[in-house]
Amino acid sequence: MRVAKKKPYIDMTKALAGFEGKWVALSFKEGQIVVSGSGDSIGEAIAKASEKGENDPIVMKVPSQLMAYIV
């Protein structure tokens, strides 16, 4: 049986490591998520991303602890 080759995935845990409990502004670079700005408020994260030239980031509050979601 031929097994389909899996495409690269977005590694969310790797991108968000060290930002637990913080607000982050995220960008896509070469198919992966990277943190462009972070802070204790969403405004701070967006402002820091803007300083780096990212003016339309994806925003998120990173959970304080990584765990599974059953919603």
């Binding site: 899996k6 495409k7 995935y9 977005i10 845990t13 969403i42 925003v59 990584l66 765990m67 919603v71």
Partner: protein
């Protein structure tokens, strides 16, 4: 429209001593309300009855959350929660999708993503999930 899964890894626990990882069907979207726009991740949640967003997204969009129409619902843990519904627009893969979505007003810790559920989303899209190929496909139903 095709999207990729996001890989999420969890630390070791009693049930999973070596930790665990899963592929979560989250896609990047934008939400609009009035003249405000916010880019966020959204979980494609076929088990959710309707579309739900955390309070912080509503606040960023300038929505007076408690001014919306109220409903109660239960999550997987069984607790009752309140959501206030407002008309918003989702931008998904370059397409505008009008939706009546609920904003969860009180939560122990706010969700990092929006939830796209049956009423207001999957009733307008055919979704194909293929974890093995790392591919999510959404087709709009006319």
């Amino acid at each position: 429209m095709k999207f990729e899964y996001a890989k999420v890894t969890y630390p070791p626990s009693e049930a999973f001593p070596r930790g665990a990882s899963s592929f979560r069907p989250t896609i990047n979207i934008a939400i609009r309300h009035g003249n405000r726009r916010l880019r966020v991740f959204a979980l494609l949640d076929t088990g959710a009855e309707f579309c739900l967003l955390p309070r912080w997204m509503g606040e960023q969009l300038g929505i007076a959350i408690t001014g919306g129409k109220k409903t109660t619902f239960k999550g997987a843990a069984g607790g009752t929660q309140i959501a206030y519904f407002h008309n918003i627009i989702f931008e998904i893969g370059g397409w505008d999708h009008r939706c009546r979505a609920g904003f969860i007003y009180e939560a122990e810790e706010e969700l990092p993503f929006a939830l796209l559920g049956t009423i207001g989303f999957f009733d307008s899209y055919k979704a194909t999930f293929n974890v093995q190929k790392n591919e999510i496909r959404l087709d709009k139903i006319n």
